[in-house]
Structures are given as structure tokens and as C-alpha cells.
Symmetry: C2
Subunit: 665 residues, 2 copies
Amino acid sequence: MNPDITRERENATFNVEKLTHILDGGIEKTKRRREIESLVISDPDFQSEDLNFLSRSERYDAAVKKSAQMILKLREYGISDPEEIYCYKSVFRGNHQEPLDLHLAMFLPTLLNQASPEQMETFFIPAWNLDIIGTYAQTEMGHGTHLRGLETTATYDPATQEFVLNSPTITSIKWWPGGLGKTSNHAIVLAQLHTQGKCHGLHAFIVPLRSMNTHIPLPGVVVGDIGPKFGFDEVDNGYLKLENVRIPREHMLMKYAKVEADGTYVKPPSAKLTYGTMVFIRSMIVGEAGHALAKSCTIAIRYSSVRHQSEIRPGEPEPQIMDYQTQQYKLFPLLATAYAYKFVGQYMNQVYHRITGDISQGDFSELPELHALSAGLKAFTTWTASEGIEVCRMACGGHGYSRCSALPDIYVNFVATCTYEGENTVMMLQTARFLIKSYQQASAGHQLSGIVSYLNESERRLQPQSVSSRPTVVNVNDLASLVEAYKLRAAKLVEVAAKSIQQELQKRVSQEDAWNNSAIDLVRASNAHCHYVVVKLFAAKLGEIGDTGVHSVLSTLALLYALQGIQQNSGDFLQVTTTMTGLLSVPQLSQVSQRLKELLAQLRPNAVALVDAFDYCDEMLNSVLGRYDGNVYEHMFEWARRSPLNKTEVHESYHKYLKPLQAKL
Amino acid sequence: MNPDITRERENATFNVEKLTHILDGGIEKTKRRREIESLVISDPDFQSEDLNFLSRSERYDAAVKKSAQMILKLREYGISDPEEIYCYKSVFRGNHQEPLDLHLAMFLPTLLNQASPEQMETFFIPAWNLDIIGTYAQTEMGHGTHLRGLETTATYDPATQEFVLNSPTITSIKWWPGGLGKTSNHAIVLAQLHTQGKCHGLHAFIVPLRSMNTHIPLPGVVVGDIGPKFGFDEVDNGYLKLENVRIPREHMLMKYAKVEADGTYVKPPSAKLTYGTMVFIRSMIVGEAGHALAKSCTIAIRYSSVRHQSEIRPGEPEPQIMDYQTQQYKLFPLLATAYAYKFVGQYMNQVYHRITGDISQGDFSELPELHALSAGLKAFTTWTASEGIEVCRMACGGHGYSRCSALPDIYVNFVATCTYEGENTVMMLQTARFLIKSYQQASAGHQLSGIVSYLNESERRLQPQSVSSRPTVVNVNDLASLVEAYKLRAAKLVEVAAKSIQQELQKRVSQEDAWNNSAIDLVRASNAHCHYVVVKLFAAKLGEIGDTGVHSVLSTLALLYALQGIQQNSGDFLQVTTTMTGLLSVPQLSQVSQRLKELLAQLRPNAVALVDAFDYCDEMLNSVLGRYDGNVYEHMFEWARRSPLNKTEVHESYHKYLKPLQAKL
């Protein structure tokens, strides 16, 4: 054990284990998680060469191998609870993805949600047994977020009782689905349904892609890998061009909408029924944002405690780089953010499960709010977490740039969440639509409930004449007071966006153009709303924590999170009211800066303990810099020596190009 | 040609070719650049498979091949001017790096600057002929920016008239130098010189690493590749462990400092003599920031003109995504930034050449300012450009994540500049040191000259009592007035930092701790200083442009750049004075927002023409999304089909893992 990091741990002022239990949701959950993790760690079948040393084809190969093994192991150990499966996967996949992810996360759940009982019988068990390996093919080369624009067609032919699937244009080729290129033998294909001469919009069809015996693509199916990407090297994201592919009528997912044998179309009872999965996945991504950032902070903070560099005081030994105020300012607010997002993830999960209960009872009332919240928070957390991962990487200096730090892997695999499952700007605008609608309802005198209830007050509070009714001046040392400040900022920015739309409309532009011409303001409003929600939830979480030591350190983190957000968006807080003075004054902002510095110094002794509490084992981090024992340098050397370029002392290119050149010149 | 992009070009309001000449520095330079580019493009020897389809070893191999060919071609064509060599390389390397980069950019120049005439004779011609292939080995595993911390030793042995080189610890292993792992047979090694029992600090030594005949490492030389990185896949960044390696006395670079035969150390005449290369490389990086961002904008803006998605007005066809205000808000300020950095790069280049003249005359007076400026601007431009590249990438939606967009390559290879040649935060603090020193001089009544002369006024202007002497209110439509606003912001933030140091000192902490405890403020001050310099130089450039159409569109860009900076840092501008009111008022900030939206709409018709003016040929961009002809989709499909995973219809992993699994379950 590196003595620097041991000393850090000795200096912690709280019980790390207790904080871990809070993050896991209870002592029992921590115990069970560790049991599952140790199953993977001790399993020789999961030991493998660092994926970074392999070619893409080898990485894909290794990932398929692991996935196949996992299926066998899960059965062997009798693990079937989704949360436990997730936990098991998290260990062996490390910072990477898997070709079978969409089979498990989209194909099977879509069957569960949208297949009729007969279809469940036909498809689910084979899919569960991996005879059928499926993916979910929605996005097309020319069409992403805008589902109505999808071009793939499924035309019903009553003569044979089949659907005929086609990709009519180059832009209609299915593009991006994970596992589509080489792994899957089936796909759920989203296509425009045509029957009896009419188009009924998008529906889902189970399309066999490859022979069950030979795995060779079936006639009319042009399928393959879309080529290398920023990350996701282990996944065969694929393309699919359908040329008059015929499937039986029973391959349309018919739990809700139906096409009868004669071609008669039967509408689904509610359009909202397919909403759920989307909301669930976006909520999951919020948790993933916390997860990715927590891993990155673990690596950067542990490394900062063992790395010595430069000097603060002349003549003294080089200090730990964590002693630099600039380093603390980079990392500690991100650490606070990681905690915030972990708690927000827990909250979203709870809300989702509560509302799913309501939905199954036919009560959709809370769905719009959850939909808006999950969309905005997905965008807000993935953007900030992605930036944060890069800050962590660069805070490790040159070594952060090496793949041995794991930070490049974490970044390239996480940053995709900004784009998939709803492009972030589009997500922000969806949340904005809900906010503006709520604002208009409040303006019309309706009493709002739920998370947007603050818009009830905004009209009243933000009028210049009612300055006196504003709450007493913000106290920058009081979290509750800061939550209030974030709330007023959100209210103000929603109002600014709403007014921009009104002003545009006064110029006689259409409702749609007014919306587009206010889009910058709308995104800002959503952003402020999400920021408020995060600060509020972080503050609420503190109320649940009994242990004094843990409560104290988490309070410091929450205050740091809130104050740093104010500093970074100080313009918003200075101009938050329509009156002459802002919500915060200029001297208060200096106070914020001063307080921030104090909080950094205050957190310094607990930094390593706070990342230890995330409890990522070395196998999950797979980072030389983030090792629990802090013994970075010897392992970096050992890792480097395994680089494939070191297999021979002299690379063949010397004989091929350099030696002949030297002879020639 | 895609009709959308043709229409864009028809709508431009200025002469693209004229703007290209301005960027190149004259019509003749444009002509010559294109001549050189066409040499590479038409050369069948430089045609190769997309590097993204190759393994790392194959990529390294391909890069060595290209480098070797380049040397032959340059001689064949008689190209020897450094700028022309740079231009030649820029085409064939595309978005990648080369193993021989350090040979050309560091090894040869260091010989030129630091070798004695006899050493020039011994080493330069062989190095020029690539018999000697060299690199520059400075950084060690445990030591980066802080040069004094380097541990490698070179101990003089007068008995044999040799230096004995050693890596005494694991942290002293040389780490990171490009081309060190496999390519180089020599290195210039920075080591602590010991002679006659005394250490004389860092000096440079030419160390043979590999046999000139067999390329096998020499005795005592442990050398290899440090393994895969975020980018730089083509480069064999290496490690070097020296175990009692003996080199003749004549291998110490002795143009300035010397060790005589008996071991007597002779000091160099000035410590500043080796400053120059560092300043030069940092200045170059500023230009590279403009270059990388300009490429990224070219790709994202062309793609945004041919990509159609979603709807603005119901019932109408899907609009070009460039018609979305949010898309314009992402890309156009970055386009403005790319122009700004290109102009700053030109300026730095000019200043460098002017000052180099002075230095060779023994006049070092301007060096501290240039050093401070190049450090800060290097950090400022590389941070913002790196973030900007990612914004461009994500603005391309899912397809930006594909390696076919080229944006991942541009990012991973460029972002390293934030760390190398001086870690950015350290660079910002170096600039801050100069600013604080200047501020203190001004406070003591000295009249400052040069770029920091604004600090002369700050003391006077920023006093509360002298509100009346402030310039008239900022005009948000007038660039000169905005330059003034940026200047006052910089002056204010330098003052805040200086005062923080004073306050810390009053708490009786040491000078060094006071500095560290004010580091956040110091970085902010440097940042504001650099921002001011960029805005000022952009405004100054406009004065040189005669053509009305070009002047008009560049003025719009400059205004956009300045106003967006104000919006993003609105807190600074609202609180810029120590008086009760800010430099800008809250209503003025609303005006800024409004004006920004207008400028986006105004730039919309010129966006494609503005990226065309950068004049990157398709071969240099190597991006399916950024193609000049806009025919994105068919080429994306064609590119994907070449993916190595598509070489067989069925990947071997199916037979190895999936089929047996299906049989087993």
C-alpha cells in the first residue's frame, strides 16, 4: 500500500462503510452486491487480456465470449433478478459494452411489453435461451430522434397473410442498432405499417435476419457492421437493408395494435403504453451518469493523492498534486456532482417504480411530468458528466491520456449517452415544452402541483412591484436558502423563454417559428429547471441521513455543489429578478467565491475516503491510476511492457521502410 | 453535388476565394499551398486504407511507410522550406500524427539551437538523412511540467571522458516521447549533469539507443512502446530506462554550457537561450487550435446543411438541421472562434519571428511578455477548441460518433495539446505570474507597455470614487466598445486575484501559500486576459481587410464572438467594477441575447461559404460527413461495408461461442 494513500484514509472524518450502505440502499444490498462481484472476480473464465491491447475484431470476439459465459454462469448461480444481473454485468464488463446489451435491454423487454400471449410463447423462451438473439432496429441512416420520419415499410399482403418489409431508400437503411451487424439472428424492426392501401404509422415487427443453423443472412437481408466508432469497440452496431423480406402476419407485435387476417387494422387502446420503456431507460441513464463520474473521480482523486509534482514551498519535497487549489477546484465539485447524480438516480428509480404501478392501474396522470423530468435530467446529467470525465482525465496530466488510466474508455463509452435515447438538445426542448405549458397554465390561474409548482408563484413573485414579497436575502451558507435561489432562477428563466415566444408571436410569425426562434432561451430554462431539481434532491437526501459524520461530509458536498453552480452561472443569479437588483448581490458573489475555497480545503482530508465509499473494486475500474493500493508507477511500467508493439524488439516496419530508406539516401 | 449544399453556396454574400487568400496570407501563398496539396493528393503512393480499419501495429506500420516516402518525395520535389514541408505533411497525415514528428520538430531543431559546430558536423547531416532517427526525451514517468524534478542522471567520468547515464528510480524512466518506443535509434536525453561531485542541473545529451545496423537496443538501454492511448495510435510514444549507459563527452550538447575534458563545468551565457523553442511550439499550437476547430466546423456545418430532421412547421418537409436556432447557436460561435484563433495564430507567428530577430541580436526584452502570452493563449485556445470539437461532433448526432465523421480522430489527437508542452493550468498560472507582477509594477507607479498596458489604468479606473471617469456605457453593437469591456473585465479580475493574494498574506501565510490559495482567481484572471487579447486581435484584423463583402461577414463573426463571450461570462461583466453597478446592466444583457439571435440568423446564409473558405480538401478532412459535395449517405454506406468485421458474413465468434451455447442450453 502506498503510504500517501494510507495516510489519506487515516485522516478521514467519517465511516466510509456507512456511506457505502447509503449509496447501495442498505447494508444488505451492499453485502449482496459484494457477493455477486466476488463471483466474477474470482472466476478464472473472466480473466482476460486488457481489451485495449486487442484489435477490434478480437475485442468483439472477447465480448461475445464473455456474454455467452455470463448466460451460463447466471443460470449456474441462479441469478435472475434484473438488478442482480445488472450488478454481475457491471463487474465483468468494466468500462466497456457488450454485443448482447440490446438483446437483454431492448429485445426481451419489448417482447414482454408488446407481444401477445401467443407471441410470448413463440418467441420469449427461445430468446431467453439465446436461440433467438435479437436487437431493436429503430434508427435509420437518415432518421434519428424524429420517429415519424422513419421510412422502412411493412406492407401487408392478405393473399399470403404476410408483411413485406422494405428499405425503399438509402436513408431508410437501419443504422446503429447494437448487436445488429454480426451477432443477432432476429430484430424487432420499427416500420411504417401499410394495409388496405393506408399507412397506420410506426409498428414493431419481429424480423428473422440470419439462418438459425448457419447464421448466414437470409435472402433479402443485407446486414453488416457499420464500422469503427469513438467507443463501443466491442459492439457490432449494424446496418440492415430489407429487400422484399416477407414475414408471417403473426410477426407483428400485437399486444395492442393488430392487423387481422384480411388486413383490417385495429388501433391500440392508448398511445401512451409504449412511453414507459423510454422513460425507464432515460432514468437509468441518469444513474449511469453518476456512476461514470464516480468512477472517474475515484481514479483522478486517488491518483492525485499519490502523484507528487512541482512545488508550493521552495525547498520542500514536491507536494501531492491534490494540495493544489486548482486541482481541488477541478475535482471536488465533480465529486459532489457524482454524489448528487447518484442520489438523483435513486430518486428517479423510485419514482419510476411508483408511477409504473399507477400506469398498470390505468392512471397516466403523473406520466407527462416524469417524461419531462427524465428527458431533461438525462440531457443535463449526461452533458455535465461527460465534461466532468474529461476534466478528471486531464487532471491526471499526461498519464490520463494513456489507456491505462481507463479514463479514455470511460469517456468514449459514456459520452454516447448525450446522443442516444434522445439527442440531448431535443430532450431539453421536450422538457421546455412541459415547462412552458405549465407556465401558461399557471398564468391562466391554474394551480400546478408536483415539481413545477414553483411556477405558481413566479408570476406573483417576479413582478417589480412585489419586491417586498421576495424572500429574505439568500444566505450563501444555508442549503435551503440556496435551493430557493435555484428555484427562483428557474422560474425567471422559464419566464424569459415564455416572453420570448410571446414577443416572436407579436412579430406575426407562426407558433412554430416563435418556438424555434426562442429555442436558446428554452434550453436555458430547462437547464435551470434541472439544476434546481438536482440541488433540491441532494438537499432532501441529507434529511434521510442519521449518522453525524456522514451527514456532515455530505452536507459539505451539497453546499459545494450548490455554490459552484452559482459561481458558474453567476450572471443568472445576478439578474434573476426583473427588478433592478439581482437575487444575489455582487458582494455576495465574492462571498460565494471565498466560501468555495474554504469548502475545498475542508473536503481535502476526506477526498480519498469519499471516493472509496463508491466501493468500485480494481477489477471494475481497470485503471492503473485508480488502484486502491496507490501503487501506480510499477504497474504502469508492467502494463506498458505488455503493449503489442513490444512483442518484438524491432518492428517489421524498420526492415520494410526505414532500413531501405537509409540505404537509398 | 448535393442540391442543398449547392444552394447554400449560391446564397453566400461574399467572395470565398478572397477570404481564403486572407487566411493563407496572400494569393501567392494560396496558390503554392494548393500546388503542394495536389502533389500529395495525386500521388498513388499516399493512397491507403482508412487508418480506422487497421490494428494499432498496422497503423504504426502505415505511418512509418508514409514518413519514409515523404522524405524521398520532398527531395524529389525539392521542397525544403519548413512552411512548405508543414503544408505537405498536413495533407497526407490528415487527422493523424506520425512517429517521425519529434525527429523533425524537436530533434533537428534542438541540434540546430544547441549543438556546437563540431556536433553539427557529426550529427546533423546523418539526422537530416534519417540515418540517425532521433527523439527528444524529457518527461519522466513521475515528472512532467516541473523540469527541476527530473531524476535521470548524467555523471561525468574524467577517466574515460564519458558520461554515464542512469535512471535511478522507477519514476525516472523516460516516458511519453513520440517515436521513442520503436522508431528512434537516438534520443536527446535531458538529465541532471553531475561532474566533479556537483550537480549542475538539467542538460541535453545525445544518447544512441539502438544499433545502426540491426536496430536492436544497445546494452543498458531498456526501450519500448508505452501502450495504447486516447489517440496518437500511429505514434510509438515510448519509455526509456538507462542502466549505466556510457556516451562520449562530445555527446553533451555544448553550444552554450560545456564540460571540459577534466570535468570542469562551464556555465551557459544566458539561461534564456533555450526559451525560444518552447515559445515557438506553444505559438504553433495556438494556430493548430484554429486549424482543428476550423476542420471540425467544416464537417459539422456542411453536414448540417444536408441533414434533414424533425419538423419546425407541421406538414412541411423536414428542414435542414442548420435551420434550428439551437444548432446555429452551437456551431456559429465556434466558427467565429475558429476564425479568431486562425488570426491569433498568424499574429503569434509574426511576433515570434520579430522577437527571434531581437533575440539573435541579444535583446531579450520582449521575451517575458511573449512567453507569458504564448503560455496563456496555448491553454486558452486548446481548452476552448477541444470543447468546441466535441460540440461539433455531437451537433452531428449519432453519425458524429462514427469514425467516418473524422471528428473522433480530430478530438483525440488535438485534445492532447491541453496537456503536452506545458499542462494548461500550469500555463495559465505562468501567465498569471506575469500579470500579477505587471499589476504590482503598475501599482508602484511604473508605466507598463505592451499588451498589459491596460493595467496602468486599472488602479485609477476601478476605484469606486472614479465612477464618473469610466468610459461611456458599453455599446453592444460596437466591437471597439466590446474590446474595451473585455479589457476592463481583465483588469478587474487581475485586481481580484492580486487582492486575494494580499488578503492571504494578511493571514500571515507564506508568499507561496498565498499564491496557491489564490490560484482559482489567478486562472480566472489569465483567462480573462487571454479572452481580451483574442477579441482585440480579431478586431484589429478587421482593419486590414479591404474587400467589403469579406469585411462585412468577418465583422459579423467578430461581433458574434465577442457577444457570446459576454453572454457566457455574464456574471463577470455584471460585476466588473467595484461600484454598485456593473460594466453591463441587466437590460443590456437581454440586448446581448437578442443581438446574438439576430447575428445567428444573419450568418445562416454564409455558413457553408465561411467553412469553404478554410479550403480543406476532402483528403485532409477524411470525413464522410464533411464532404465538399455533400453526398453523405451513399458514402457512409460504402465506408461501412469496408469495415473489417464485414470481411466474412459470419464472424468466427459465432462458431466458437454462440452456436455451442445454443446447443448447450
